[in-house]
């Protein structure tokens, strides 16, 4: 069913009884060409691009819970490409460009809102490093600009602009093409489009083991719903990548941490851009419903608990109130955490694993949502062709042995 203004009007006249489920709920077949483990944004996008770009539609996505119920449903919905190194800039800007055309490509409104993102400078040193950051972005062909203190104050009047503030605002860095997208819609849009192309989406099905040939090559999966065979398997499981890697018999350079977010009660429009303060350790945007969406830094100890600790909640709320004193009147509605897969250079891993036939997309850490389109695009490419996509070439597991890192962790282009 094609979604359009006409289908909406038709529904209005017929009591909206003609809508069909957006994706099928099939019984799993015994064999597929490709299996994807993980029904989040990355896994669903991989399935969609396998069918769309490579004509491989005999594909199943295996999801332990429900689709988009992990980090895809837990992030702060921000999309941006303000990275420092050329390899990262190419990768993330390709993703942002795919996002820009995604609603049309999927015939599903992902509610992309390019409201811009402003990173705040609170010191002379912040201003210096932001000049470098802007220069690097411009060298990489991505529009960025330095904002004066007055420009930031005009963009976000709710900020405490007094020079006596705990975090005085001295300026900022803006990427105008950055913004937010509706996170659930990204998962649902990819699921619907993939399902229409023939991909089977199998929910409530947990992977319990990998089936391997005598020579070690992957042959399929053992799941809570029985054995499913395929000669190529892709993993897109974010914070649970190490758990799956252990089942498959190898280790990853990944540590899983809880990353928190929270929302306040909804209020009238107050903030029409994304405000990020690396110094204070918080970032804020306003959802279309009116909630202030607040993101925190990591709980800095290994965790698989999707709740986050109170110590970090307290710290991020204190920082947010220092930036936006008027938020002190708001009630917090919800607080949660997603389990993120952090690697030492804060760059992803997209490519083959030590197990032949098994490929992985992980290591996005705190920034996986913005990368969903490119993560799916490049994992689909390596699953379909056996060769890495050109964009993914610098982001191989092997770099942890050779030392050829793309060290966005040490660069200023990353929030955490």
């Amino acid at each position: 069913m094609n979604y359009s203004v006409w289908s909406l009007l038709r529904g209005a006249l017929s009591g909206h009884r003609h809508w069909l489920p957006a994706w099928r709920t099939p019984t799993p077949k015994r064999t597929y060409d490709v299996l994807i483990v993980g029904g989040g944004g990355h896994g669903l996008a991989t399935a969609y691009y396998l069918a769309k770009n490579h004509g491989i539609s005999n594909v199943a996505v295996i999801e332990r819970g429900w689709i988009g119920g992990g980090n895809t449903g837990r992030n702060t919905t921000i999309v941006r490409s303000n990275y420092l190194y050329p390899q990262s800039a190419r990768l993330y800007d390709f993703s942002l460009k795919l996002y820009e055309g995604l609603s049309r490509a999927l015939n599903f409104n992902i509610m992309l809102s390019q409201r811009g993102l402003v990173a705040l400078a609170h010191s002379r040193h912040d201003l210096d490093s932001m000049s470098r950051w802007v220069n690097a972005m411009q060298m990489n062909g991505i529009a960025a600009e330095l904002l004066t203190r007055e420009q930031v104050g005009t963009l976000a009047p709710a900020l405490d602009m007094s020079l006596q503030a705990r975090f005085p605002v001295l300026g900022g860095l803006a990427q105008r093409r950055a913004g937010t997208a509706r996170h659930d819609a990204v998962a649902w849009g990819y699921a619907r489009a993939a399902s229409a192309l023939g991909v089977d989406i199998i929910q409530n099905c947990e992977v319990t083991g990998f089936v391997k040939r005598a020579d070690g090559r992957v042959l399929g999966l053992d799941t809570s719903g029985g054995r499913i065979l395929a000669d190529r398997v892709g993993i897109a499981a974010a914070g649970h990548s190490s758990v799956l890697a252990k089942l498959a018999g190898f280790r990853l350079p990944v540590t899983s941490y809880a990353l928190q977010a929270m929302v306040t009660e909804p209020i009238k429009p107050l903030l029409d851009t994304v405000i990020l303060s690396p110094g204070a350790g918080a970032y804020v945007s306003q959802s279309d419903k009116g909630e202030m969406v607040i993101g925190a830094g990591l709980d800095l100890f290994p965790s698989y608990a999707q709740r986050g600790s109170f110590a970090v909640t307290q710290g991020v709320l204190a920082a947010t109130l220092a930036l936006f004193p008027s938020f002190g009147r708001l009630r917090l509605l919800r607080q949660w955490a997603g389990i993120v897969d952090v690697v030492h250079d804060s760059s992803p891993i997209i490519g083959p694993t030590p197990v032949p036939g098994l490929y992985i997309n992980c290591g996005w850490g705190t920034g996986g949502f913005k990368a969903i389109p490119v993560g799916g695009w490049t994992l689909a490419h390596v699953l379909a062709t056996g060769a890495n996509h050109e964009l993914a070439e610098p982001f191989q597991l092997q770099r942890f042995i050779t030392g050829r890192f793309v060290d966005e962790a040490a660069a200023s282009g990353i929030a955490h």
């Binding site: 649970h240 190490s242 758990v243 252990k246 280790r251 990853l252 350079p253 990944v254 540590t255 899983s256 800095l300 100890f301 290994p302 965790s303 698989y304 608990a305 600790s309 109170f310 110590a311 710290g315 690697v343 030492h344 942890f400 042995i401 050779t402 030392g403």
Partner: protein, 90 residues
């Protein structure tokens, strides 16, 4: 808030401590291959379950110690000295 029982200062809130990552990782010899060295530096078990890890009481006595902690429940199963062998957990 999670509390850790510092062997020297007693139970304190988690934000007095810093986690130093996995314990009991043996450093390979200088002749180790790039593969072995890379795995020593970066590759981790990252278990969903009991994790043996180092913590330092940075806002207190400054001492390092070992903790066996469950990464889902955050339950602390054992606190032991930084040079002790990993305890058997019942």
């Amino acid at each position: 808030m999670m509390q850790l029982n510092c062997p020297w200062c007693g139970p304190r809130d988690e934000n007095e401590f810093a986690c130093g990552g996995s314990s009991h990782i043996a450093r390979p010899g200088l002749a180790a291959s790039d593969q072995v060295w890379g795995e020593y530096l970066f590759f981790r078990d990252n278990p969903k379950g009991v994790h043996r890890e180092r913590w330092r009481h940075v806002q207190g006595c400054g001492q390092w110690f070992n903790v066996a902690r469950h990464t889902v429940t955050h339950e602390v199963l054992s606190v032991y000295a930084v040079t002790d062998a990993p305890p058997k957990l019942g």
